[in-house]
């Protein structure tokens, strides 16, 4: 997103558009990434209830995955999961994988 100059933005730090927090990708803050074991998960949806960032993607009462653009890696989903189906994995692992190391 191109950052605007001082003449183009609302006065006083106001944000005029509602629901804009989605535009701010906070996934980059993450140190640990939640990874779900589909075999263990019974779709109880407790993680979806507890997630403070609405980052559990649910379709028709089934968990489809995580919104990694906004998940900050707090680990609450993993801590709440009654089936131990969510593992918090260090982000560096994925970075190294992507680099093919």
């Amino acid at each position: 997103m191109k950052e605007k100059g001082w003449k183009e933005i609302p006065l006083g730090g106001l944000i005029l558009e509602a629901g804009n927090a989605e535009k701010y990708a906070t996934g980059g803050w993450r140190t640990y990434r939640p990874v779900r074991d589909e075999k263990k998960c019974n779709d109880c949806l407790l993680c979806w209830v507890y997630c403070p960032d609405s980052s559990i993607i649910v379709e028709e009462a089934k968990i489809k995955g995580f919104d990694y653009e906004h998940c900050k890696g707090c680990g609450i989903c993993s801590a709440q999961c009654p089936k131990d189906a969510i593992e918090m994995v260090e982000e560096t692992k994925f970075v190294l994988q992507e680099k093919g190391e």
């Binding site: 950052e3 001082w6 933005i9 609302p10 006065l11 006083g12 730090g13 106001l14 944000i15």
Partner: protein, 393 residues
Amino acid sequence: MGKIVGLTGDETAAEVMRQINPDVVAAYPITPQTEIVQNFSQFVANGVVSTEMVRVESEHSAMSACIGAAASGARAMTATSANGLALMWEICYIAASYRLPIVMPLVNRALSGPINIHCDHSDSMGARDSGWIQLYSENCQEIYDNLIQAIRIAEDKEVLLPVMVTLDGFIISHAMERVEILEDEKVTEFIGEYKNPYSLLNVDNPVTWGPLDLYDYYFEHKRQQIEAMEKTGEVIQRVGKEFKEISGRSYELMENYRLEGADLVIVAAGSTAGTVKAVVNQLREEGVKAGLLKIRAFRPFPAREVSQALKNAKAVAILDRSVSFGAQGGPIFLEIRSALFEEAKRVPVVNYIYGLGGRDIGIDEIKAVYRNLERIAQTKKIEKLVGYLGLRE
């Protein structure tokens, strides 16, 4: 026609607040401001204003409540002094940054410690970088006139900044003077209605107030505040002209008192300007070309106008009723000396710190300043850049 009444400075501020009839007043009492809030509370109790009065537990809360009210679209006011201003410090910056046109009479009082309840300008001068507009008042009439104009200045679309209107603690706040009061309707018509286009309570057009603003946009928002301050000078002048039409009294960024052809000039703000005028009149009768430049707007500082007014003087003394510890002089001195740097001809300028903690300043002290200016004009030599007036050695 309006009427002529006898009022103290605090009573004047309360009376003009009655005429302004703000939607919200959130305030906490502190000497010597107390009588403003006390008198205004009586107006609320008697039902002569429709103001929602919030009796907060501190000045920090007073300014916070004003911010909430102003963001919701209400015209909000408060009043304070010295340590009260110090306690609302954090929130004063927020009021200015959110661009909320809150108007506040500030009864100038020395900051503790040692604890002191009398006048100096250390409270308002400390807040000079908070983003508030500052108008200094010489007497009760100016408090009345400045507060009415402050509403218009603050709420002007080019400005949208809070304004503090200062008056000297006890010297003016508790002294009764003759004040010309306009008709209520005239004041109501002059100030108009405050409309916040982004009201916090407008559910049809929801906006976010006060979000986190980091290195990516904070600087841009500060630049907007700088711009608003730069435009404020013209707005103060325009509102001053319009105010003359309803009151007959004219206001500029500053007052030039017998400055034409003046060789020896004193610069002062607040009630001392009145004493200096008396001395100027005496000296002029004796043939001494004395003059006064009275500071009205200190923020924004009218640097160009001030240097124009002073550039032909042979010697200038700037009176500061506050100290900037470790600086090269008082706050007004620093501004003016810097402004005069642009002039081709060097004007000798000296600084006097005076009146701290309410120390009286009289005709004799001011005459001594003019005598020193006379010496400087003759010898072209400044022996002491910063002096202390009325201090025991």
